[in-house]
């Protein structure tokens, strides 16, 4: 398990699940909120990665 994307996805799953469980009481709302949060984590990380791509190291 050394893939950056794989570790990012697993990390996002852990954190979004924890936030969904803590911030919503209804199980259906937890699933919806957690899925949204997970999607935002992954999409924003990939988008930021591409935005930073042209910058020199």
């Amino acid at each position: 398990m050394t893939s950056h994307l794989g570790l990012l996805v697993i990390f996002s799953a852990f954190v979004s699940t924890a936030f969904a469980v803590l911030m919503r009481d209804n199980p259906r709302e937890q699933v919806t909120f957690g899925a949204k949060l997970f999607g935002m984590f992954v999409v924003s990380a990939v988008a930021l990665g591409w935005l930073l791509y042209p910058l020199p190291l």
Partner: protein
């Protein structure tokens, strides 16, 4: 409309005792307060995240006051409670700085501790009748 049972009412137990239990065993505070679904998920999720971080060569940071960022990471690590001490006893968490997953592992271990601190605050709010 009356609040659903177990919600909105302050616990009769001292909230600080609940916080201590919630810190020691992730999710235990919620289980104590009758939030079984939340408690069970947190009981599995947070130690699993901590263990996963150690498995991918994350490090349990020492309390080095001379290195403020290392000391802060150590505080975050302790946030996970009992799993931290079990890992120390088992001799894991040395971290492999040359491992490609070292920094990722650190992020998992640190964030697991911080999430448990958030869980403790949530349990405190429930115990005080705020949620």
């Amino acid at each position: 409309m009356p609040a659903p049972s177990g919600r909105g009412a302050a616990s009769t137990t001292n909230p600080y005792v609940i916080c201590a239990v919630a810190w020691a065993v992730p999710g235990a505070g919620h289980l104590w307060l009758g939030r079984h679904q939340k408690g069970l998920i947190l009981l599995v999720l947070l130690p699993l995240m901590f263990a996963f971080g150690l498995w991918i060569e994350g490090r349990i940071f020492p309390f080095q006051i001379a290195e403020p960022l290392v000391a802060l990471a150590a505080v975050a690590d302790v946030g996970i409670g009992l799993p931290y001490f079990l890992a120390k006893l088992a001799g894991v968490g040395a971290g492999q700085v040359i491992a490609i997953t070292y920094e990722y592992g650190n992020a998992y271990v640190i964030v697991a501790g911080l999430l448990n601190m958030l869980t403790v605050l949530d349990a405190f709010d429930i115990a005080m009748g705020r949620k």
